[in-house]
C-alpha cells in the first residue's frame, strides 16, 4: 500500500507544505487505491462517481502555486491540495448528484452547495461522490438505489448509514477526508461501525445550502475523517455563517483545532463528563458496553470527573424522531414531481394528467424506505392525527431539550456508546424497519435538541469497531474536540497506534474501478 494514503489529512498537509509530497501524487495515490479496492463484486463500493480529471487539475494548480512560492503560496489554505470525498446528498457543479435515488439519476446541479464553494476556494481536490441510503434515509446504506457499500473491516457487513460511503471511503484509505450529513446519526453511526471519526456540528453551525433536504429541522453537514484533529480542521473550513441558509448561526467558527490539540495532551483535569444512564445497558451489545466502560476508566485516569446523569425522556426520543422526521420528509420530497427535474414516468394506462404522471413518476423513482417515510409523514400530519402525533412529538422535543439542559448543568460533556451494536451482516435487518431504526437510538437525541456530537473509535468487539460518542451543549463544539482528542490519545497509547491500523488488509477487488 502506498504510504501517502495512510497519512492523516493534517500530516499529508504538512508534507505538501514542506514539498516532500505533491498534491498530484496524493490525489493519484488515492485514485489508485480507489481503482484497486472500490470496484468489482467484492469491492468496498464507497463511490458512485469519480471526479479524477478535475481533482488532478486542482492538485496541479496547488502544486504550481506552491512551486512558484510568494504571497499566493503563503495564502493557500492549510488543507489545500488534500483530497476529499463528498456524500452524494450534497450538490456539486460538474458532477452528478443522485442522493442515492433513481429519481435523480444523471441529474446535474446548476449550482454548488456552500460547503462545496468553500472546498473549491480552499483548493481541496474532490475525488468524487459517495454512496448513501436513498435521500439519506437509512442506517446501513442498503437503501441506496446504486448497490450496497461494504464495510472495510468485514466486506459482508454494513458500513452504517446513511453516510456509509463517506465512512467506508475514509476507513478504506480511499480518502483522508469526506463530508457527511447527519439527521439522526448518519455521520456518527457509520463512523462508529467503521472505526473512524465523525462529527455532527451544532445545528446551524455549517451551512445546509445545497444539501438535499431530508428533515430540515434536524439535518446538519459535518466532517468524516480518521482522526479528531482532521475533523476539527475540516469543520473549521466548512463552518461559519451563510446568508443563503436562514438557519445558519451568525457567529464565527470556534477554535476547534486548538481544542483538539489541547485534548491530545491527554489531560482532562477539571472536565466533568456525564454518563447518560439511559444510553447503555439493555439493548447494547456486551462488547460495546465493555469498550464503553473501559473508556470511562481511561477518561477518569486522565483527570476527568465522571458523573452519572439521567435523561428520562430519551425513552420517547426515537418515537418522536420517527414522527417529526417523516413529517418533514413528506413535505420536503413533495418537490420531486418530475416537472422541473427527475426522470418522468408515464402511467401505464388511463388519462394522462399531470397528477397521474406525478404518481407514476414518484412510484418508479422512489425506493421502499422513502415511500414508507413519505406515507408515515403524510399520516402524522393528516387531519385528526396531527395533534396526537406530530404535535405530541414536538412536545417530546421540548422534554428532550430540558433533559439535556439538566444534564449539562452537571457536566461539561456527555458520553455514551455511539451505536448499540457493531456492524451487522448485509441484508440482516432489511426486512425489519423497526430493527433498523433502533440503530440510531443513541444518536437521535442530539439532532432533536440541535446539539453537537462526535464519535471516536473505542476499540473492537467481535473484531469490529465500537464507537464512543461525546455530546456538548449547542455552540460548544470545541468541547467535543478536546474530549474526543483526549480519549483518542489515551486509547492509541494502549493500542500502539490508530485503531484503523488493525483493520484487515483489503484485497484488490478490481482493476476496473467505478464508472
Amino acid at each position: 500500500m502506498n504510504e501517502i494514503i495512510k497519512l492523516s489529512a493534517a500530516d499529508l498537509a504538512a508534507k505538501l507544505r514542506d514539498g516532500s509530497v505533491t498534491s498530484t501524487q496524493a490525489v493519484q495515490a488515492h485514485l489508485d487505491r480507489i481503482a484497486a479496492v472500490d470496484g468489482g463484486d467484492r469491492g468496498v463500493h464507497a463511490f458512485l462517481h469519480l471526479n479524477a480529471e478535475e481533482a488532478l487539475a486542482v492538485a496541479a494548480e496547488v502544486d504550481a502555486i506552491r512551486a512558484a512560492g510568494g504571497p499566493e503560496a503563503e495564502a493557500l489554505h492549510p488543507l489545500a491540495g488534500v483530497p476529499i470525498a463528498i456524500k452524494d446528498l450534497i450538490v456539486t457543479k460538474g458532477q452528478p448528484t443522485t442522493a442515492g435515488s433513481k429519481f435523480l439519476e444523471g441529474w446535474m446541479s446548476p449550482y454548488d452547495a456552500t460547503v462545496i464553494e468553500k472546498i473549491r476556494a480552499a483548493k481541496l481536490p474532490m475525488l468524487g461522490k459517495t454512496n448513501l441510503d436513498e435521500f439519506a434515509m437509512g442506517s446501513s446504506t442498503e437503501h441506496s438505489a446504486y448497490g450496497d457499500t461494504r464495510n472495510p473491516w468485514d466486506l459482508d457487513r454494513i458500513p452504517g448509514g446513511s453516510g456509509g460511503g463517506s465512512a467506508a471511503a475514509v476507513a478504506a484509505f480511499e480518502a483522508p477526508l469526506a463530508l457527511g450529513t447527519d439527521t439522526g446519526g448518519s455521520i456518527r453511526q457509520p463512523g462508529a461501525v467503521t472505526g473512524t471519526v465523525g462529527v455532527k456540528p451544532t445545528y446551524g453551525g455549517v451551512s445546509r445550502y445545497g444539501a438535499i433536504a431530508m428533515a430540515s429541522s434536524l439535518d446538519q453537514i459535518g466532517p468524516v475523517t480518521r482522526t479528531v484533529r482532521d475533523s476539527a480542521l475540516l469543520h473549521e473550513l466548512i463552518g461559519g455563517h451563510d446568508p443563503k441558509d436562514s438557519t445558519s448561526i451568525d457567529q464565527p467558527v470556534a477554535e476547534l483545532a486548538a481544542a483538539a490539540e489541547q485534548g491530545a495532551t491527554g489531560d482532562l483535569t477539571g472536565v466533568r463528563i456525564g454518563v447518560i444512564r439511559e444510553l447503555q445497558g439493555e439493548g447494547y451489545d456486551a462488547g460495546v458496553q465493555a469498550r464503553f466502560d473501559e473508556s470511562l476508566q481511561l477518561l477518569r485516569s486522565a483527570g476527568a470527573e465522571i458523573v452519572e446523569v439521567s435523561c428520562p425522556n430519551f425513552e420517547y426520543a426515537l418515537n418522536a424522531y420517527y414522527l417529526i422526521m417523516p413529517s418533514e420528509v413528506s413535505s420536503n420530497l413533495a418537490k420531486f414531481d418530475g416537472v422541473r427535474y427527475g426522470n418522468r414516468v408515464l402511467p401505464a394506462e388511463g388519462p394522462m394528467t399531470i397528477e397521474r404522471v406525478m404518481g407514476a413518476t414518484r412510484a418508479a423513482g422512489f425506493g421502499d424506505e422513502v415511500k414508507r417515510r413519505i406515507i408515515l409523514g403524510t399520516y402524522a400530519l393528516s387531519a385528526g392525527y396531527y395533534d396526537a402525533y406530530y404535535g405530541s412529538a414536538q412536545k417530546v422535543r421540548t422534554l428532550i431539550q430540558r433533559d439535556f439542559e439538566a444534564a449539562f448543568a452537571q457536566a461539561d460533556v456527555l458520553v455514551s456508546p455511539t451505536s448499540p451494536v457493531v456492524a451487522f451482516p448485509l441484508g440482516s435487518k432489511l426486512d425489519d424497519p423497526l430493527a433498523m431504526y433502533l440503530n440510531d437510538v443513541a444518536t437521535i437525541p442530539a439532532n432533536l435538541a440541535g446539539i453537537p456530537g462526535i464519535t471516536v473509535p473505542g476499540g473492537l468487539s467481535e473484531n469490529l469497531p465500537v464507537g464512543i460518542q461525546f455530546l456538548a451543549p449547542a455552540h460548544e463544539d470545541a468541547r467535543l474536540y478536546r474530549a474526543g482528542a483526549a480519549l483518542e490519545k489515551l486509547l492509541e497509547d494502549q493500542w500502539g497506534g490508530p485503531l484503523i491500523n488493525q483493520a484487515p488488509e483489503l484485497a484488490e477487488s478490481s482493476k476496473e474501478g467505478v464508472a
Binding site: 446535474m108 436562514s246 420517547y316 418515537n319 402511467p347
Partner: protein
Amino acid sequence: MPAISREDVAHLAQLAHLEMSDTELEKMTGELGVIVDAIKSVSEAAGNDVPATSHPLPLVNVMREDVVGQTLTQEEALQNAPDAEDGRFKVPAILEGE
C-alpha cells in the same frame, strides 16, 4: 387510536402522489401498522403544559436587502427538465378531458 386500514393507506398514497399496486398497498399497510404501534406512546409522554418545539435553536425571521443575488439562467433552470418548450417547463394536461 384506530388501526390503519388499507383504505387509509390508499388515501395517503393518493395525497402523497405515490401510485401503488394492490400488493404494495397490502405490504405498506402491515408495515405502517407495526411502526405506528411502536411509536404511538409519544402521545402519552407530554402533558398539555409542555410547549411544542419546532426547531432546535431559537430562530427569528431573516431579511436581506432586495438586491439581485446569484440566479440561474433560463438554460440552467431548464437543463434537467424532463420536457421543455419555448423556454418553459412542459407538463401533460393539468385537468382531465382537456
